[in-house]
């Protein structure tokens, strides 16, 4: 019976797979089919697993098919660069890697400030394939395909996790949901070589082993939990979520009076081993015993020891005596604990909570205190449609699943509830935490759905009850009975068909979302030609390649931090700031250079040995993620450091609008960023007013910006990337402004003509 239900539910959800044949085979022999039922079940399960893994991998390959095997976005470029470093150098070189090509002139202790799990994983895969299987695969391809491969594993771990919570029917549903839910795909398409790609797999694995350990009270599973926890710590900063969720689970269970020695065994094993292991990661270091983020785990560890003692004493003495014992010891430990925590924090032994942590609780915290965090789009609060967009029908099955957990309140259900509640909140606060919510949505959605299928696919009661009823009631009520059965069948059928439709629609929606929203590499852009064919816009790589080939190898490129990793990865040039935003002041310096007038900027540029300045300009093409749109963040961040010199208000027009046309404020027009973006923009329109397609404003030809301290070095085909070379100090000691004026008047005609062909060539 079990396998029958399983087959049908899965076959509906994974309609594009070849499950339908399978569904037809099983119902014929509920008991025996020539072969043992268990063998068939195992075989089917393996087939289903393979097809689920296949579905989840293949749905992530849109980007490779549409574009090419390329690393996406920003952070993955750094991971890719680090991986290349790892496979070309030794492991210890990697851990001791001091990167002098980023954060010029500071450099970055890269080996000590990254989570090495991802790079080591792909490094290991690369070595295994090369040396053991004699398959010399390019490291880039491994990096590109790592995320889809791990998504297959995630589906399987989700199966095991959900199986522990309910049964294997729910597990299979959860696995297929997890495999194709867009919320998870968003971070794990091929080419999205980011920490989250493997972290979600490890998250599910850790939780699975934790549930297992807690259920059995087994030291063995506790150790496995700790090992996967260690892997998780090595892979993603989000490990803190586990560090707090598991203690919270234990704490709630203790409060519910559910302490048993199983909890003690599982938790203490996990904590002792996991904490020690997590300190092996250089970036984490002594944090687990120093930072407040980790104190909850330590506190619960201590509490559990006390509870264990208390439990022992309780079993030995009458309850009245125990009461006084309990009260005294409780008061003692709580006061001691609070005093200890406060004391240690004030003494500076324990680091206070980090800004990102505060921004989780107070959504306005980041906006006020740390503009750098608020400026990242994935740290914004989630919009409501995003939930539906990312999980489709699961979002309304999710509460039902949580409700079912409440009904059957075992220890593991408490875990699901806590996870669900916490993550729903976090996902509402930050878009990127949608990722951690997705697994539990899938699991509890599957629980709800499989419960529904349990009830509505259960025809056995109908068949069995039928003959008995007939014999007792004889012919009298047979007509009634039959009508009754018909109605029961009909209602069942309606419900089942509805959900079959929903499941089919879910697959459809997921595929659509994946192919349309999440498969763009954002390094290569795509647009449609008038005739409908695809047109690839490859400005980024064009410009980075130009940098790589035409500039000296030690050239320093200044760009806004978003492009730091890409410049490092694709152009291999030294950058001032990059996406690892460890030094706010340095970023503010770059922001100040961008938003100040030329004279002020030039000083900053010279002080930092900048040779080239790179800006992203989408005005010609209508590419909205350009630097003028990000400009206000640069202003805000530098205002945070130099409140006297930079004022956000100055960049708005008199009516308080953010304008780039004739109404733009003088500060705006004077800023280096504005000038670099719109320099010679009017020439494209033959000297007439130019129109900015992103902001829908016109740049009047009369106020075409002039550049004195930098000169245009390169502009990509669609003007998305513009590179400027910083001029040297003048030979005869003039200031650069007069020097430019002089050269303009002297050889104006020849210069113009000499420059023009450059544009013609590009167009």
């Amino acid at each position: 019976m079990v396998s029958e239900k399983k087959k049908q539910s899965v076959s509906t959800s994974s309609a594009p797979l070849k499950q339908k044949e399978v569904a037809e085979v099983v119902p014929t022999g509920p008991k025996i089919l020539g072969v043992k039922l268990d063998t068939i079940r195992l075989l089917l399960q393996v087939i289903i697993f393979i097809s689920i893994a296949g579905a989840s991998i293949s749905s992530r390959l849109f980007s490779v098919i549409r574009f090419e095997s390329i690393i996406h976005e920003f952070d993955p470029w750094f991971n890719f660069r680090a991986t290349k470093y790892l496979v070309t150098h030794s492991y210890y070189d990697f851990l001791n890697w001091f990167d002098d090509r980023t954060w010029y002139p500071l450099g970055r202790v890269t080996g000590g400030t990254l989570y090495p799990g991802l790079m080591v994983t792909s490094g290991v895969i690369w070595h295994t394939l090369r040396e053991w299987l004699a398959l010399p695969i390019d490291i880039r391809n491994i990096c590109v395909l790592l995320a889809p491969a791990f998504s297959g594993l995630t589906a399987i771990f989700t199966y095991f996790f959900t199986k522990e919570i309910k049964d294997s029917n729910a597990g299979l549903l959860a696995a297929i949901f997890m495999g194709i839910a867009p919320g998870y795909i968003s971070r794990s398409v091929a080419g999205s070589y980011d920490n989250e790609a493997i972290a979600i797999t490890l998250l599910m694995a850790t939780f699975y082993f934790w549930i297992k350990a807690m259920k059995l009270g087994s030291v063995f599973y506790g150790t496995l939990t700790a090992l996967f926890y260690f892997y998780m710590v090595s892979a993603w900063g989000g490990y803190v979520f586990i560090t707090n969720l598991i203690p919270l689970h234990i704490f709630v269970l203790i409060l519910m009076g559910r302490y048993s020695h199983k909890l003690y065994t599982a938790y203490t094993t996990w904590y002792a081993l996991g904490t020690l292991a997590s300190m092996q990661i250089p970036f984490v270091g002594f944090l687990p015993i120093r930072s407040n983020d980790h104190m909850a785990a330590l506190g619960v560890f201590g509490l559990l020891q006390l509870v264990a003692v208390g439990d022992y004493v309780k079993s030995q003495i009458p309850s009245k005596q125990f009461k006084s014992f309990l009260v005294i010891s409780l008061v003692l430990t709580i006061t001691l604990g609070i005093i200890g925590l406060v004391g240690l924090t004030t003494l500076g032994w324990i680091a206070p909570w980090t800004g990102r942590f505060y921004s989780l609780w107070d959504t306005n915290y980041a906006k006020i205190h740390i503009p750098i965090i608020a400026s990242v789009s994935e740290h914004q609060p989630t919009a409501w449609p995003a939930f539906f967009f990312d999980t489709n029908m699961l979002i309304w099955l999710f509460p039902a699943g949580v409700y079912l957990c409440f009904q059957d309140l075992q220890n593991e259900h408490v875990f699901v509830i806590i996870y669900a509640v916490l993550c729903s909140y976090f996902a509402g606060v930050m878009v990127r935490l949608m990722l951690t919510l997705t697994p539990i949505i899938c699991a509890s959605g599957a629980i709800a759905l499989s419960k529904l299928f349990d009830v509505y696919l259960d025809i056995s009661e109908l068949i069995n009850a039928n003959p008995e009823e007939e014999t007792t009631d004889k012919k009298k009520s047979t007509g009634n009975r039959k009508a009754n059965i018909f109605f029961i069948l009909l209602s069942k059928l309606i419900v089942l068909l509805t959900f079959a439709f929903y499941l089919f629609y879910f697959v459809f929606h997921c595929t659509w979302v994946t192919s349309n929203a999440y498969s763009s590499p954002s390094v290569v852009l795509a647009s449609k030609n008038p005739d409908g064919s695809q047109h690839i816009i490859d400005d980024f790589r064009e410009a980075y390649y130009w940098l790589r080939m035409n500039t000296p190898e030690d050239a320093k490129v200044m760009a806004w931090w978003d492009y730091g990793y890409q410049i490092g990865g694709m152009a291999d040039r030294t950058t001032l700031v990059d996406n690892n935003t460890w030094n706010n002041t340095h970023i503010a310096t770059v922001g100040k250079a961008m938003c100040s007038s030329e004279e002020v900027s030039y000083e900053i540029l010279k002080k930092h040995d900048v040779d080239y300045v790179l800006v992203i300009f989408g005005g010609l093409l209508g590419y909205s993620g350009d630097d003028i749109n990000k400009f206000l963040w640069m202003v805000r961040i530098s205002e945070g450091i130099w409140p006297d010199e930079v004022h956000e208000r100055d960049f708005f027009s008199e009516r308080g609008e953010y304008k780039v046309d004739s109404e733009a404020s003088q500060t705006m027009k004077d800023s280096l960023m504005y000038k670099m973006s719109y320099y010679r923009f009017n020439e494209l329109y033959n000297g007439r007013d130019a129109s900015d397609r992103v902001r829908g404003q016109t740049i009047p030809a009369s106020q075409a910006p002039e550049l004195n301290v930098v000169e245009e070095a390169f502009t990509s085909q669609n003007w998305i990337v513009r590179l400027y070379k910083v001029k040297d100090l003048d030979n005869v000691g003039r200031n650069l402004h007069s020097a430019t004026q002089f050269s303009k008047t002297e050889q104006s005609k020849r210069k113009r003509i000499a420059k023009k062909p450059v544009i013609d060539l590009r167009e």
């Binding site: 009270g217 087994s218 030291v219 150790t223 199983k262 081993l273 020690l276 030995q316 005596q321």
Partner: protein, 178 residues
């Protein structure tokens, strides 16, 4: 059901000393009108509790459990020794101290887990030998649960798990100490 080790008695004893201080001060503040009898009542209760606990603990010891308990006491001593060393002399190789201290704590915890699992698996046989009152109390409390608590873990399995976890623990410690 015996759950804890020799460490309990000193720990509890020390907590009593502190408890007497806090309880007297708080009760004089809040229950000024109460008779002196009510102040000393919890303390005598406490002493009684500790005594009975200690007695039943001694009664329940088997040679194997005794061995484990001695090991536990040794671990606690070692941990305290390291802590005292750090306080007196300083924590210069912090890695080494942490490694040593956590190895003690970790091993302690693992051993306690092992002890709990042993005890549960052997509890069916030993239950009869323990005082009848106690057995009764237990059965009324959580007898069906505790007997089948670790049903899937035999003593051999428990020991295997223990060795596995300890090996990993000490491998990490070894790696951590440098």
């Amino acid at each position: 059901m015996v759950k804890k080790d020799a460490k309990i008695s000193p720990a509890v004893a020390s907590s009593i000393k502190k408890a007497t201080g806090t309880s007297t001060s708080s009760s004089t503040g809040t229950l000024a009108s109460a008779t002196p009898n009510s102040i000393s009542q919890p303390i005598t209760d406490l002493v009684n509790a500790v005594n009975t606990t200690y007695k039943s603990y001694i009664n329940s010891l088997t040679p194997r459990l005794q061995l484990i308990d001695v090991f536990l006491a040794f671990l606690v001593l070692l941990g305290i020794l390291q802590f005292v060393y750090v306080i007196l002399i300083g924590n210069f190789p912090f890695n080494a101290f942490l490694g040593g201290f956590i190895s003690c704590v970790g091993q302690f915890v693992l051993t306690v887990s092992l002890r709990l699992q042993y005890e549960n698996s052997t509890s069916d046989k030993t239950e009869t030998s323990i005082d009848e009152i106690e057995a009764e109390e237990e059965k009324s409390e959580d007898a069906p649960k505790s007997n089948s608590l670790f049903e899937s873990i035999s003593p051999e399995r428990a020991f295997g798990d223990y060795i596995f976890a300890s090996l990993i623990l000490h491998f990490i410690v070894y790696h951590f100490i440098n």
